[in-house]
Every structure is written in structure tokens, then in C-alpha cells.
Symmetry: C2
């Protein structure tokens, strides 16, 4: 377990490295930890991504790089990644832990299928990660479900 | 990244420690990697768990122990856990990586809210983890959404 001090964007304690980030995050803590959608507030946006007829699903280094690129595209803050590869089928399971939540992946190369989750709070938009994931895994067919997590009652 | 050989239940390569597990998992690989529900086959079951008015959301050791207990209740195989704690609000983000997928958690102690995901494939039932999570975090209100991930066309 790692203790992070003053680095959590959603807590309003983030010390941004640049003025643009600071402008977006340096508001009241009550506002920073959530997102606003159609007049309602939520803890975060969670995309359940299904990729079929996808590629590179047994390549751990490629998968890790693609998840990191997806996190960056969404302006998320990477904390660490953890991956496991299974033999003999080459399935990969792993996660990129973010200050804004996580991206996870589980692959079944023998079925060319991957289940990916992109869950982000704060100023990040998980939809910005999707084109990067699609370019990487080249799915022939995909389904994306959006869930709004943690609705905040007024 | 860790290389696991012959320990992936969903690949039919699992060398079970006991006869009961062996009986459940030692079938054809095509059958092992998925679950059957109402005559349809899926890669896994994914529960999106929302806990409100919950407790212990800033206690990393408690959260880790509770997630591990939940994984055990569902007969899942724990690979490793990773947690981060944020200051000053005490929010925790973390994951228990499983051979059967993962349990993740993100907490907002200042709002007594936790977003938990329980995603399991193979012979595990993620619903078996929920009572353990409820006993641990004592939510005053909870919502659980079930998603069937990776539908396999016949």
C-alpha cells in the first residue's frame, strides 16, 4: 500500500503541474471529486467495454502500453500497473490503477475477446480513452456501456 | 508482470488442490472459461456495487481484508492486491486481482460512498462475495447491478 499525500485530483488537494490542470481542478473540494452530467452529480463515469475479434490479446507489454496510452488520452494520473499472464492459452488479466480510479482488462485470446473497464472520476473523461483502445486492439466488433457511478443527491 | 503456468481455472488447466475443485474445473477447456446462464454462455459475471452510508472507507487494512474475504467466499483464487490511500480525505483505491478476474474498490469517505466491482469468470459466483462486503462496510443503502460480460454466440 502506498500513501499519497496531496495528489488526489478528486479531493481538491491536487497540486497541478501546469496552470491548465490547476484551473480545472483547483476549485472547491465538493465540486472536484465528482462530475456533472445533465444537471446531476456523480462520483464517476464507468465504461464497460466489450471487444470481439480483437488482436494482441496475449501480448502483455502491448496491452500494458495500450492501457497506459488510454489513461493518458483521458488525462488520467497513472499510479501503477499490474498484469498477469496465464498459460498455455495466453490470457492476460491486469489493471492500471489511476488517481481517478482504474482501467482493467481481462482477455481470452482463444476467443479474440477482451473485457475492459474504464472508470474515471474528476475532470477525466473515460470516453477519451476508447479510441486509443480501439486503435490498439483493432476489434472487429465492440460494445460500450456507460454507467454513472455514485449519484450524489442534492 | 508474473507468468502463471497451469493455474488458470478458466483455461481448464487448473490443478486443483482438492477433489471438489477438480471436479468443478477439470472439464473441457471450452466449457471452463465461461459460465452458463439461462441457456446462454458468457465470459463472466460482473457486479457493479454501490454502497452509501458505508463505514471503514478510509481503513486500507480493513478494506483489503474485506475484499480478500469476499474473494474467498466466492471461491476465487487471489493473485495479489494493490491499494493506494489518498490524503487528507482518506479515500482508498485498490484492486484484488483474481485468477477469475478482479474485485476493485474506490472510496469517498467524506461522502460515505464506495464503488465496488466484483467481476468473476469460471466456476465462481460473484454474488457470493456480496454478503461479506455488506457485513464489512455496513452500508445504509446499496445498489447492485449485474452485467453479463462477453456473451458467446453459439
Amino acid at each position: 500500500m502506498d500513501e499519497l499525500v496531496g495528489q488526489h485530483p478528486r479531493r481538491g488537494e491536487f497540486e497541478a503541474a501546469d496552470a491548465a490542470s490547476e484551473a480545472g481542478r483547483g476549485q472547491a473540494a465538493e465540486k472536484d471529486w465528482c462530475i456533472e452530467l445533465e444537471g446531476e452529480r456523480y462520483a464517476g463515469l464507468h465504461l464497460l467495454v466489450e471487444f470481439w475479434d480483437a488482436k494482441h490479446l496475449d501480448d502483455v507489454e502491448f496491452i500494458e502500453a495500450t492501457l497506459i496510452a488510454g489513461a493518458r488520452a483521458a488525462n488520467a494520473t497513472l499510479l501503477e500497473t499490474k498484469f498477469h499472464k496465464f498459460s498455455p492459452n495466453g490470457g492476460v488479466t491486469g489493471v492500471a490503477l489511476l488517481a481517478e480510479s482504474h482501467i482493467s482488462i481481462h482477455t481470452w485470446p482463444e476467443h479474440a475477446y477482451a473485457a475492459i473497464d474504464v472508470f474515471m472520476c474528476g475532470a477525466c473523461n473515460p470516453h477519451d480513452a476508447v479510441p486509443v483502445l480501439e486503435r490498439g486492439f483493432e476489434p472487429g466488433r465492440s460494445e460500450i456501456m456507460e454507467h454513472r457511478r455514485g449519484k450524489i443527491e442534492p
